[in-house]
């Protein structure tokens, strides 16, 4: 019999995937568990193992084409099985069309608003005509992509089709790709806070079909914003928009902020950093692990902050998995420190450092990105002193570390001293907890942070 | 063509000693033997190509005797086996060139008979007719410029080469500057298949000398003694600041141009046979015998020695290794071969 293979869902909330490369050609035999197609999504890319042993009869999705998860992408004739009527061949392709015509509700609704598409050839303006336009756009963009552009696009994981070419006849130039690459994080900062742990939040590139190994992650990038023109949406932006709206509409946000004196914490960290760097062979000791430590302790004291709203009721998470928002040159990813409550500061430092390193090397896998229960965002690294983060769907809250600034403050004994002050902002899902709990959580977090240092055991 | 004096008459030896006369004869025998060996090896399939200078023996042996080793320079052409031997190249070196072995002076790069040896004062040359003549003139200029008295350049070519523009330009330049050089034309009447009457409008090359204002002479190139006399006089004039001389030595090319040529397509056996009567080797042999400079036994012994020497040289040379593929890339420029830096 024939088995129809559908686009797998690689990671929670991922709604679509792109066939990066067919590792098997129609007619070739494939062993069960043998990788036969490479798929890249918003966040990751993976080789998909065959579910059965047999012959790849038909490929239903072209390389470079993006389809909704669950869309049939190939048919494998199992060993010994008689060849099926080509209904199998045609039906799935109809499924592709259907899937494209009727994507998941929220995305449809949300993107429809912000989707004018003057550069139809370069991008898919609306999910409705997504699949077919990707192909058209792909061809149009790639036909004019110079070797340098292809190479840079690969290096920076840029979707050439998404760019507005500044070259002759709208050709995407190498400079366009570089500009886009530089704009990537900047463009992402706004939503970064909010979509931190949202695995579907940032866009995955659709790599040229010629490309052998599309790296993980991705970004939403733009050419020069030209006044009076509409910048076309790419896949990533659509999904970001969709997630923001979804979260903001479904979870009533409450917000609060405390001011924390981290003078001693800072001293402690300064004291420990060189030794740590040396011991760990060059890992950097940042403020982040101290902060996460404080957060997980507070979460232990306020378990409702480590929960999520469901129609059945409020589900309190067993584990404490902390998502860390990491801004990359062209992207923002939110890998998860699993069981953060079981790690010392040093353990957290190592774990987070490793995740950051993995992220920078595009080595994050599905596991690294899955399972977050609460999110920490070191937003202060961007100089921000206050922000109203948007909660990620399926969590109760998110806290940000804002920028640490030296300020004259009145101390307990009414003296005025120069202290290193840092704001901590919290957004919470009001359906899960109320202000009472939230302010308790914040006060607890503040107390723990101010109690840290100037000495201690990592 | 004047025949060499034979028995009875006194031998005009142009100051050559018995020993020198024997050396000339030895050179002639060796030359013919090596020519013959080249053709043999070619027919055996051991070497792809050989050139014959048969008929040039007396001319070359005589001219070589006038050459001052270690002082004069020789700029020959590719039919000068006898000259090369006469100024010091060994049969072994000749065979290395025939076999194109790594030990050859040119590392097996050049055609056979394209010898060059700085030690022997033998200038490197190509197969391009007359291309070496300006080089010889340049060398002569260098001698004159450095005030090197007692040195001269002997440059040879065939009759066909005199039609080349570079021949004219070179002789003209040498005559303007009165350079220490002797232009020796080995007129064998044939340029591959082109006879002298298709080569020039009148058959006497030496007559061109007047047009350049230099002395010109013609002599019997089948007679090594007469040849020596003419070349020696011209070289002495050159060495003593008397300027260039144009010499025309008359000889004949008995064999085809090369192993790749069939001369019966353009000349008759009768013509060749007619010239055979003047073959310089037996002719000079008779002279030496008649004047008791050598006995018949000496001659036989000499011929055996020459053959043995040739055989030994052949075996030795054949046993030597070829250049390696890597040698293709050496000696293009000083240092590495890099079109791109």
């Amino acid at each position: 019999m024939a088995t129809t293979i559908t686009m797998p869902q690689l990671g929670e909330t991922v709604t679509e995937g792109t066939v990066a490369q067919w590792l098997k050609k129609p007619g070739e035999s494939v062993e069960k568990y043998e990788a036969f197609v490479e798929v890249s999504t918003d966040k990751v890319n993976a080789e998909v193992p065959a579910p059965v042993t047999g012959t790849l009869r038909e490929v239903l999705v072209k390389e470079g084409e993006t389809v909704a998860t669950g869309t049939p992408i190939a048919i494998i004739d199992e060993v010994g099985a008689a060849t099926q009527s080509n209904a199998h061949g045609t039906e799935p392709t109809q499924q592709v069309a259907n899937a494209a015509a009727a994507p998941p509700k929220p995305s449809n609704g949300s993107t429809a608003h912000a989707a004018p598409a003057p550069q139809a050839a370069h991008t898919a303006p609306t999910p409705a005509r997504h699949a077919e336009l990707d192909i058209a756009g792909l061809e149009a963009a790639l036909r004019m992509a110079s070797p340098a552009v292809r190479k840079l696009a690969r290096e920076h994981r840029i979707d050439i089709r998404a760019l507005q070419g500044s070259g002759a006849n709208g050709r995407v130039t190498a400079q366009d790709v570089l500009t886009a690459a530089q704009m990537g994080p900047a463009a992402a900062v706004g939503q970064a806070i909010a979509i931190g742990t949202n695995f579907g939040a940032t866009g995955a590139p659709v790599m040229p079909p010629t490309h052998a190994k599309p790296p993980a992650g991705g970004t939403s990038t733009y050419g020069e914003p030209i006044p009076g023109t509409t910048i076309p949406l790419n896949q990533a932006r659509r999904i970001i928009a969709q997630r923001m709206v979804e979260s903001k509409h479904t979870a009533p946000h409450a917000w609060s902020m405390v001011e924390v004196d981290v003078t001693n914490l800072w001293k402690w960290r300064q004291r420990e950093k060189d030794k740590f760097d040396h011991e760990t062979g060059g890992l950097k000791l940042t403020m982040l692990p101290f902060f996460i430590r404080a957060v997980v302790e507070s979460l232990a004291a306020f378990p409702l902050m480590n929960a999520r709203f469901t129609d059945e009721g409020i589900y309190v998470n067993k584990d404490v998995n902390i998502g860390i928002a990491i801004g990359l040159a062209t992207n923002l990813v939110v890998p998860v420190v699993k069981h953060a409550d079981q790690l010392s500061i040093k353990g957290l430092a190592v774990a987070s450092a490793q995740l950051i390193d993995k992220a920078r090397r595009n080595k994050l896998g599905v596991d690294d990105l899955a399972g977050g229960t609460f999110t920490v965002n070191n937003n202060g690294s961007n100089g921000s002193i206050a922000s109203a983060p948007i909660i990620n769907g399926g969590q109760a809250g998110i806290v940000t570390m804002e920028a640490m600034v030296k300020r004259p403050v009145v101390t307990a004994d009414d003296a005025i001293a120069i202290r290193s002050m840092m704001n901590v902002c919290l957004s919470l899902d009001h359906r899960v907890v109320d202000g009472y709990v939230a302010s308790g959580f914040l006060a607890d977090l503040k107390r723990r942070l101010e109690a840290m240092g100037p000495t201690g055991v990592l | 063509m004047a025949k060499t004096d034979t028995k009875g008459k006194k031998l005009e030896r142009n100051g050559l000693s018995d020993e020198q006369l024997r050396a000339i004869f030895r050179n002639m025998l060796l030359q013919r033997q090596l020519d013959n060996r080249g053709f043999q090896l070619n027919r055996q399939g051991k070497i792809p190509f050989a050139l014959g200078s048969e008929g040039h023996e007396a001319l070359q042996a005589g001219a070589a005797m006038a050459f001052h080793r270690g002082k004069d320079l020789l700029a020959p052409y590719y039919r000068d086996l006898g000259l090369a031997l006469g100024i010091g190249l060994t049969p072994y070196e000749i065979l290395l060139s025939l076999f194109a072995r790594a030990a050859d002076h040119n590392g097996g790069r050049q055609f056979p008979n394209h010898y060059s040896s700085k030690a022997a004062g033998l200038m490197s040359f190509s197969s391009i007719l007359a291309a070496h003549i300006p080089h010889a003139v340049g060398a002569a200029y260098a001698m004159k410029y450095r005030g090197e008295r007692g040195r001269a350049v002997l440059v040879t070519c065939g009759d066909g080469t005199t039609s080349e523009g570079e021949w004219h330009e070179s002789v003209n330049f040498a005559s303007i500057h009165k350079l220490p050089i002797v232009f020796l034309v080995e007129n064998n009447l044939w340029a591959i298949s082109t006879p002298i009457e298709h080569q020039m409008g009148q058959p006497e090359i030496w007559k061109r000398a007047a047009g350049y204002g230099i002395p010109g002479h013609r002599f019997n190139g089948f007679d090594p003694i007469e040849t020596y006399g003419n070349v020696n006089e011209a070289l002495d004039r050159a060495r003593s600041g008397g300027g260039p001389t144009l010499l025309e030595g008359m000889c004949y090319r008995f064999l085809a141009h090369s192993t790749d040529d069939n001369d019966m397509t353009y000349r008759t056996k009768e013509e060749v046979d007619a010239h055979r009567k003047d073959d310089p080797v037996p002719l000079f042999e008779r002279v030496l015998l008649d004047h008791e400079i050598m006995s018949a036994a000496d001659v036989e012994q000499l011929k055996r020695d020459v053959l043995r020497e040739t055989n030994e040289a052949t075996d030795r040379a054949e046993a030597m290794p070829y250049p390696t593929a890597a040698d293709l890339y050496t000696h293009l420029y000083e240092g590495a071969w890099k079109p791109w830096q």
Partner: protein, 336 residues
């Protein structure tokens, strides 16, 4: 200029002065040096480059040859084989063809065919190039005819200081060097030239102007025009890098590749005609070595494929490029 350094004293020279000064030093410092060519002696060369040399060094070292180019080079080859350092002059590059065999067949092969036993340290100087109303026989570029030849080195400096440094290098070089002097630059181009003896390494290009958006590789007269055009474009906000090859064989791969990898666009500009010209080799090399740096097709801005420029002004004008034409070529490629 690559060679200038603040500590050095310099003199303002044009290219004629630079050639003359260098030849003069060579004659002064090395008695092996001789100059031969048509009208190099009494007349001091038709451009007066060797003016008064014959008076100072004598007719034996400054040789007025008959009108016979093949032997001018051929005799120089023989001189070089026998220990002189001849500098042969072909009065105009257009006259070099009779000497083709001596240059390609003899000089370039001497070392090789004798397996290193004989060498040919020879410099052949010749004025080339147009823009001087030289018509069909006093304005050709010949470099493409010779740069195919292993065993030969070819230099074409454009600036007085390079002329001196490279002519010195050519004279010191142990192998035959064809030294091309663009006759229009002879008196047009002036520059500071360091005093004393110095050489510029053969095979080293010179980045005249750094830029980020477009690399322009040229040599000879057009280097000056390319520079002028690049400055125009700078004002328009287009940043052009200009490379002066200086040495045509061997050629400076590294400098070209580094530039192309930076700017991702390559424009080759030369006065010689396009088909099979220097630009063809550069294009092929860059395509082989730096394909993935290219953000646009390699472009060549060269003379049209006609035998030479006509005498009449409009014909020469049509044949020759200009800073404006080069600037247009730059703009077009920058826009791509």
């Amino acid at each position: 200029m690559a060679v200038s350094s603040p500590t050095q004293t310099t003199q303002l020279m044009n290219n004629v002065d630079a050639v003359r000064a260098t030849l003069y030093d060579a004659m002064k410092n090395d008695p092996r040096t001789v100059i031969l060519g048509e009208d190099v002696g009494a007349r001091g060369n038709v451009f007066l480059i060797t003016k008064d040399f014959a008076k100072e060094f004598g007719p034996q070292r400054v040789i007025d040859t008959p009108i016979a180019e093949a032997s001018i080079v051929g005799i120089a080859v023989g001189m070089a084989m026998e220990g002189l350092r001849p500098i042969a002059e072909i009065q105009f590059a257009d006259f070099i063809y009779p000497a083709f065999n001596q240059i390609v067949g003899e000089a370039a092969k001497t070392r090789y065919r004798s397996n290193g036993e004989y060498t040919c340290p020879l410099v052949i100087r010749t004025p080339y190039g147009g823009g001087v109303r030289g018509a069909l026989s006093h304005s050709v570029s010949i470099e493409a005819l010779f740069y195919h030849v292993p065993g030969l080195k070819i230099l074409a400096p454009a600036f007085p200081a390079d002329v001196k440094g490279l002519l010195n290098a050519a004279i010191d070089d142990p192998d035959p060097v064809l030294f091309l002097e663009h006759k229009k630059t002879y008196r047009l181009i002036k520059g500071e030239v360091p005093d004393g003896h110095y050489t510029i390494p053969i095979g080293k290009a010179n980045v005249l102007k750094e830029g980020t958006q477009l690399s322009v590789v040229s040599y000879g007269l057009y280097v000056h025009w390319a520079l002028e055009a690049a400055q125009q474009l700078e004002a328009e906000g287009i940043s052009v890098e200009v490379i002066d090859l200086r040495s045509i064989r061997p050629m400076d791969r590294t400098t070209i590749l580094q530039s192309v990898e930076k700017t991702r666009k390559l424009l080759i500009v030369h006065e010689d005609n396009k088909f099979g010209g220097i630009g063809a080799e550069i294009s092929a090399m860059v395509a082989e070595e730096a394909l993935f740096s290219l953000d646009a097709p390699i472009r060549r801005h060269c003379a049209p494929d006609v035998p030479a420029m006509g005498y009449a002004e409009p014909l020469e004008h049509e044949y020759m490029s200009s800073p404006a034409k080069i600037a247009d070529a730059m703009r077009e490629l920058a826009r791509f």
